[in-house]
């Protein structure tokens, strides 16, 4: 149990654009312990979302290692990778784009249960109802189409899908950025509850340092594909050392400024 849940070292991803190669992610290393929240913060274009996609093997890195659950995650392929995916889930920024436009709430939650053989066909409807209740929704939402429910409800369904397979790590890519402020608070509370009860670790990607300070244990500040600064979330947000950290804090709107 000494090794961390997720450890990333030397991760690098190049993109070629018009003959020039740009490092979207440049030699990045970090780790996450079980039940911990690590926030990745940074301006847009700093490579935060690319990190999310690399960690989930949605894009392949050009260099580096990803160790997850004591396994070399990059060495996995095919069926082995698909089965491991149950332990590593993701919530996307835009809850409408994250679902098949033809799907219903029930189908969205049924897929992970079916694919990973978590519940038999007959038991799945009850499992789906329980998942909906777990994220603060009523089970009668199940037959509704995804486009018929509100943005906040959709993001709750996305979280329900992510926890359906009982993962140990969820990557949240700007998961609350598209929500309005009151809904954002509720979703953050739900995430904190889930973490406390199920010991889920979060890789929380955000450009909003206020949210980061509220939810994360540690933060890594990104700039141009590199980690500029890392440390305890409150310490870093309250007194950033790096230039980019100070710029991000200065850019955060504050209403209670004296």
């Amino acid at each position: 149990m000494s090794s961390p849940l997720l450890s990333v070292s030397g991760l690098t991803k190049w993109y070629r654009r018009g003959g020039k190669t740009i490092a979207a992610v440049d030699n990045v290393s970090f780790h996450i312990e079980t039940g911990e929240t690590l926030a990745l913060a940074g301006p847009s274009g700093s490579g935060k979302s690319t990190i999310a996609r690399l960690v989930l093997r949605l894009v392949e890195p050009d260099a580096g290692r990803i160790q997850f659950d004591g396994e070399d995650f990059l060495a996995l392929g095919g069926a082995a990778l698909r089965s491991r995916r149950a332990r590593l889930q993701m919530v996307f920024q835009d809850p409408l784009a994250a679902f098949n436009p033809r799907a219903t709430v029930a189908r969205v939650l049924d897929d992970p249960l079916r694919i990973h053989g978590i519940a038999s066909r007959l038991k799945r409807p009850r499992r789906i109802a329980a998942l909906l209740e777990r994220v603060g929704l009523t089970p009668d939402l199940a037959p509704r189409a995804i486009h018929e429910i509100s943005g906040g409800q959709r993001q709750r369904v996305a979280i329900a899908r992510a926890i359906a397979t009982k993962p140990s790590l969820i990557v949240l890519d700007e998961a609350v950025s598209a929500l309005d402020v009151s809904v954002r608070g509720q979703i953050l509370h739900l995430l904190l509850d889930l973490q406390r009860e199920e010991r889920i670790a979060y890789l929380f990607i955000s450009h909003d340092l206020g949210v980061v300070r509220a939810i994360a244990h540690r933060v890594a500040i990104f700039d141009a594909g590199r980690i500029a600064e890392t440390g305890d979330a409150r310490t870093v947000v309250d007194a950033p050392q790096s230039a980019i950290g100070q710029a991000l804090v200065a850019a955060t709107p504050r209403l209670n400024r004296a």
Binding site: L58, R85, A98, N100
Partner: protein
């Protein structure tokens, strides 16, 4: 407003629907109105239309009832047209989805095969296929589909290329869905509308190709086809032009009906898309 009523509001769509409905009724009613073999001799040879009311459209060179042949021919034309178009759409959608989703070498190989089929004139392809395998209804369907699937394949591939970058596809991968299930259950249904918009053109082309094959004597010899009727009438074109004109008119009306109805469907779905 429900889609059917919106569909029937445009005059073109209404005309197309009426023609297709009439055609469908003809095809379905053929064995009831004209039981028995339509190729059996029913009266004197070369009876002109509107002379004998038991044989309203007259008889052909062998004394067969032209109206009965016309009704039974509608069955063949519709069956071949719809089956060939359905086959072409299915093959095209599957190949296009595989090429677009897999990318890389698979895409390259599948699209070069598509190119190869597209460079050969589709009628020539059908002609060659039927002459080699031998004429029968199934072979004619396959022969026509062989030349028609490339259009749907290209459209499906283009759609899939744009859809596969969307977040919900990444979401399906994250939950561990098998790539084939992602391709055919998540992506293909969303790529289908523009592919289906091609169907009216393909059905119309298939009906014409079938008629042309029959005209050349490569249709199913055991079935009455409009193309075969035109070919029969060709030898007596000067003395009994109606033998070619009647099935010719039926063909023109059918193709027109399919086009108009297809146009109407595209129109209504376009309206629905812009509304939502």
């Amino acid at each position: 407003m429900n889609p059917l009523r919106r569909f029937l509001r445009t005059p073109e769509a209404l005309a197309g629907a009426v023609i297709l409905a009439a055609l469908l009724t003809m095809a379905l009613a053929a064995p009831l109105l004209f039981p028995g073999d339509p190729q059996a001799i029913a009266g004197p040879a070369l009876l002109p239309p509107f002379q004998d009311w038991s044989l309203p459209l007259g008889t052909d060179r062998l004394g067969r009832d032209v109206l009965a042949e016309l009704f039974h021919g509608a069955r063949t034309s519709l069956a071949v047209g719809l089956a060939a178009a359905a086959a072409a759409l299915v093959i095209g959608a599957v190949i296009g989805t595989l090429a677009g989703f897999a990318g890389g070498l698979v895409d390259e190989v599948l699209m070069r095969i598509t190119d190869a089929f597209q460079t050969v004139p589709s009628f020539l392809l059908a002609l060659a296929f039927v002459s080699v395998v031998g004429p029968s209804l199934g072979v004619v369907v396959v022969a026509i589909a062989l030349g028609a699937w490339t259009g749907p394949a290209r459209v499906a591939r283009a759609e899939v290329l744009s859809i596969r970058e969307r977040d919900f596809v990444a979401g399906a991968r994250v939950i561990g869905m098998h790539p084939l299930e992602i391709a055919f259950r998540e992506i293909l249904p969303n790529a289908l509308p523009p592919v289906l918009a091609l169907s009216s053109v393909i059905v119309a082309a298939a009906i014409l190709t079938e008629a042309a094959l029959s005209f050349l004597g490569l249709g199913d010899p055991n079935r009455v086809t409009w193309g075969g009727m035109i070919a029969e009438g060709r030898t007596v074109l000067r003395t009994a032009p109606f033998l070619s004109i009647v099935p010719g008119l039926a063909l023109v009306l059918t193709v027109l009906g399919v086009y108009l109805a297809g146009e109407g469907v595209v129109e209504t779905t376009a309206v629905r898309r812009s509304l939502s």
